[in-house]
């Protein structure tokens, strides 16, 4: 009897620590096993690191997108920020071929923060729904890039700028993996800080948070700024990995949102963990890799993706809401 209760308690504790992310960890595990079965060489250090390197931009974008979604908003402009970042870097190098990469990269991060700041201020002060604000920002940036370059950016990205997306530290560790780990660690620290809790509280119930003294507007603006910075960092990685392209960030906003949703983060805010969101990004990348290795035809690829996304989110939504209710009933409403 006591053992049963203890097991029950442990189970509950495990479930609670996994939170709403449990389905995505399961999905990721399944995909990683399938990858091992499909291709034995997948876990050779070089290849696995290459896989992480490929996933890095999406993971960083997902972390940024998580901050915005968990406080109850959306950021649809991140893909356009990635494209604008890559194109802007190429244009800068077209005019100043000897610009130091650190300055160009810092400039990009600043510009990303600025785009996020504009998104945040318009959403909070003018009360434009973020769906509309960031959609508008996406169109503005896409149009501006098109107007600026006429569809074909000038200049090349030099080797030292591309080092972060393409090169390796110590000869084996891709810089992109380092950047990804650093961004991930920062995001986790941020979410454990007071600000992180404030952000979740804002998404859970804006009014309650405001009444308890949270400056909800400021929290949201900061979330948008961080999402913009994450997108600019992703732009540095994407530009480094694959070079100049006028379509560098196409579709990234949807992939990032999908990754966050796969991670069990509730749209509308207030629930979900940043680690699960990043695991969602890894799952998505693992899925793309698996489909490629299995030789799934291009026509069928999106169908398979769609089915898996719906299944993962569906299973997550169904099971966990029931569990939550039961827990709420039995424990007298402990906040999760």
């Amino acid at each position: 009897m006591t053992t049963a209760t203890a097991t029950g308690a442990t189970y509950k504790r495990v479930v609670r620590s996994l939170g709403t992310g449990a389905p995505v960890y399961a999905l990721l595990a399944v995909l990683l096993v399938l990858l091992a079965v499909t291709d034995i060489g997948f876990y050779e250090p070089d290849r696995f690191l290459a896989f992480v390197k490929r996933a890095a931009p999406l993971v960083i974008l997902a972390a940024g997108q998580y901050l915005v979604i968990v406080c109850g908003e959306f950021d649809l402009s991140v893909g356009a920020i990635v494209t604008a970042g890559v194109v802007a870097a190429a244009e800068v190098y077209g005019s100043f071929p000897d610009a130091p990469w650190l300055i160009v990269a810092s400039g990009l991060l600043l510009a990303g923060a600025l785009a996020g700041l504009v998104n945040g201020l318009i959403t909070t002060w003018l009360r434009v729904p973020s769906f509309i604000t960031t959609l508008g920002m996406m169109l503005i940036l896409e149009g501006a890039v098109f107007y600026w370059t006429g569809g074909s950016p000038h200049g090349q990205l030099p080797q030292d700028f591309r080092q972060l997306g393409r090169g390796t530290a110590l000869g084996w560790l891709p810089w992109a993996v380092v950047a990804c780990l650093a961004a991930g660690a920062l995001a986790v620290l941020l979410m454990r800080s007071d600000f992180g809790r404030t952000l979740v509280a804002t998404g859970d119930s804006e009014r309650t948070a405001a009444l308890s003294g949270v400056r909800v507007h400021r929290a949201r603006v900061i979330a948008f700024v961080l999402s913009g910075v994450a997108a600019a960092l992703a732009a540095v990685l994407v530009g480094g990995f694959s070079g100049v392209s006028a379509q560098a960030g196409r579709g990234y906003e949807f992939e990032a949102i999908t990754a966050v949703v796969l991670g069990g983060v509730v749209l509308g805010g207030g629930r979900g963990s940043v680690v699960a969101a990043m695991a969602g990004a890894f799952s998505l990348q693992a899925l793309f890799t698996l489909l490629n290795l299995r030789g799934v035809s291009g026509a069928l690829e999106s169908t398979v993706q769609g089915v898996i996304v719906i299944a993962a989110v569906g299973i997550g939504a169904a099971d966990w809401s029931r569990l939550r209710r039961r827990r709420t009933n039995s424990s007298g409403g402990t906040p999760t």
Partner: protein, 404 residues
């Protein structure tokens, strides 16, 4: 069930719908380097590798590629292959005054079309007798282009109408209607009517695909593994490129190890090539249905620490630069952007009452090791197309984004 739960439920289902729809949307919205070319109806049955394969057209294009074009050498946009001339006396412009030329463009949604439109505008500036040039941009939307064509053919006082259709079947009725009102010149992609005075286009997809495949058959040792990179399935001009290549590979001793779709995305291309290298041990040749992602493929070999095998690309500047700098074994068939000059020349001929070919087939040159230096010019933007035929036009290279 309290209201919060309801809200969560709604949001969750919205999320599912959203993500499903978005995934489908972003993966089907593939950028195309080269627009869809003339597509007649394709018959089915027989010994054909794909439903897009039409043996007679395949043979015709391969024969055209061996023909010597008529017209001034060095000005391929004025040349014609096997022209069947048609009289245009009925369209001869009466009265004096400048020509008002009108153009309904499918859109400028990729670098190929950007370079093309710039070249067309430069061609218009060369002709003093054109007093007005009206361009309506359909932004890739069929419905917008239908109303564009109606507007240009109806209310505006256009003397001739140039159309680059967005899609073949949907635009056919609008073009037919316009034909009753003024001379129409169709180019780049086709429509299912021959009411236009002339249809301008290069040799076509079979010619493109075969040139690239024959190069690999020649350069790669027998039993070599070929990786075929395609943009996306179901687009006729890309399907014809691949079906011609497949035929050549089937006849050869080469082994097509993989056929993959890249969506035209360099990052995805790099991943696919890296995976293919590690899975097959080695890749001995790369065939591409367009060259926009060729540089990414080259880099994947470099990053994997192996030599770049023979590779095919296109006349995009970044690929030509990589070809020269890295001393690649490469070839670049083209879907030449100089074809944007021809409709302007054709329109002026028609309004002058001079005969034009019913189908104005242009040559489709190939960039090879021998003529690489002729087409590669330093200082052009990475997404410029070298086969623009614009090198001697006023404003070059600045107007095309190049350094003077």
């Amino acid at each position: 069930m309290n209201p919060r739960t309801v809200r969560r439920r709604t949001l969750a289902s919205a999320a599912v719908l959203l993500s499903g729809a978005l995934l489908a949307a972003c993966s089907s919205d593939t950028p195309l380097d080269a627009p869809a070319a003339a597509s007649g109806s394709t018959e089915t049955g027989g010994d054909k590798p794909s439903k897009f394969f039409e043996r007679s057209e395949y043979k015709r294009q391969l024969a055209l590629a061996r023909e010597t074009p008529r017209g001034p050498a060095g000005r391929p946009w004025e040349q014609m292959l096997e022209p069947q001339m048609t009289s245009t006396a009925q369209y001869k412009k009466k009265g004096s005054g400048g020509v008002h030329l009108c153009f309904s463009n499918a859109g400028v949604f990729n670098p190929w079309r950007q370079v093309g439109l710039k070249t067309m505008k430069a061609e218009v500036r060369l002709h003093k007798d054109i007093s007005d040039f009206t361009v309506l941009d359909a932004q890739g939307k069929d419905d917008k282009q239908i109303s564009d064509i109606q507007e240009l053919a109806g209310s505006k006082d256009c003397d001739a109408l140039v159309v680059s259709p967005n899609t073949t079947a949907t635009l056919t009725p609008a073009v037919k209607e316009a034909c009753d009102k003024l001379p129409v010149i169709v180019f780049d992609r086709g429509v299912e009517t021959d009411c236009a005075v002339t249809f301008v286009n290069p040799i076509g997809g079979y010619g493109y695909g075969a040139v690239a495949a024959d190069f690999l058959v020649d350069k790669v040792e027998p039993e070599g593994k070929i990786l075929a990179l395609r943009i996306s399935p179901g687009v006729d001009v890309l399907e014809t490129r691949w079906s011609a290549a497949k035929l050549a590979f089937d006849k050869s001793e080469l082994d097509v190890a993989d056929v993959k779709f890249t969506d035209g995305d360099p990052a995805k291309t790099k991943s696919i090539v890296a995976d293919a290298i590690s899975r097959h041990g080695s890749i001995d040749g790369v065939w591409m249905d367009s060259g926009a992602t060729a540089v990414a493929a080259v880099e994947a070999f470099e990053d994997a620490g192996v030599d770049v095998p023979p590779i095919t690309g296109e006349d995009q500047q970044d690929f030509l630069e990589a070809w020269k700098d890295k001393k690649l074994t490469a070839i670049a068939p083209t879907y030449p952007t100089f074809q944007w000059r021809t409709p302007v020349i054709a329109a002026l001929r028609v309004l002058d009452g001079k005969p034009v070919p019913k189908e104005w087939k242009l040559p489709q040159p190939t960039v090879t090791q021998a003529n690489l230096d002729e087409y590669l010019r330093d200082g052009m933007p990475p997404l410029h197309y070298a086969m623009c035929g614009c090198q001697r036009m006023p404003g070059y290279p600045g107007d095309w984004g190049g350094k003077k």
